[in-house]
Symmetry: C2
Subunit: 117 residues, 2 copies
DNA sequence: CTCTCATATGAACATCTGTTCATATATATA
DNA sequence: TATATATATGAACAGATGTTCATATGAGAG
């Protein structure tokens, strides 16, 4: 009958119950974490920030950010999977752009917070 | 005199130059990535979401989220270091809350994007 | 001062992540 | 078809990350 105290102790039952009712679905929270995680890497956020200004191809991003072509390509794959960027092909060149104006809002929210210190 | 092609090839010089001028400081972008990275974990985003509703102590968070006391405490440390949460002591109990209403904005921006699919 | 309990912390460990390197794919051009 | 170039991809590896476990710290109660 060994029960660790803190696993079970709830100091403010009413608060916990009230908040529990207001909490969004677990799935949605996990999805939100997964989305924001994609913004949480220097290379990726630079790509996002760059694409906020103009659509660009892999070589341009590579030169602009001073990151290898392979690294850019790998990160673009991550961004694609998270549906943050879309692309169009024109001959040999593939142009990437942000999938959605919404993406900018998330970036801005983070950036503004950083600038307010 | 070996130069890999893509490291140097810039297909759209003018675009790259223009975007480069508009890019924020490297530091700020890295800081933004570091900030958003903190939101990119299921446990932490749940803590943030919970504290959006009410200030809570470690035990309550542990019970609410069904995560061990130790894990909650470790994550609160991360959140503290990123200045996302603040705390006040009342006897044995330490109450955590969001440091800033701004934090909610970032969460909401991500959450809303998730809900729009 | 001692006991209890809320919280913090350090080490260990398994997993995840981002880059590099080598190579493959796809498209245009000669 | 052969070659050049833009991009993608898989394996490998080092470093980061999140949890657990054991233990420490700090404050109130007795």
């Amino acid at each position: 009958m060994e029960i660790e105290k803190c696993e079970v102790t709830v100091i403010h039952e009413n608060v916990v119950r009230a908040v529990k009712e207001q909490m969004p679905d677990e799935d949605k929270l996990v999805a939100t974490a997964e989305l924001l995680k994609v913004f949480g890497d220097p290379t990726r956020i630079k790509i996002i920030c760059a694409l906020l200004k103009a659509e660009m191809c892999v070589c341009d991003l590579s030169a602009l950010l001073d990151v290898s072509q392979s690294a850019v390509s790998h990160q673009l794959k991550t961004l694609k999977q998270a549906r943050l960027v879309k692309y169009r092909r024109d001959g040999k060149v593939i142009y990437y752009s942000l999938d959605d104006e919404h993406i900018g809002r998330i970036f801005e929210a983070g950036y503004e917070h950083v600038m307010e210190d």
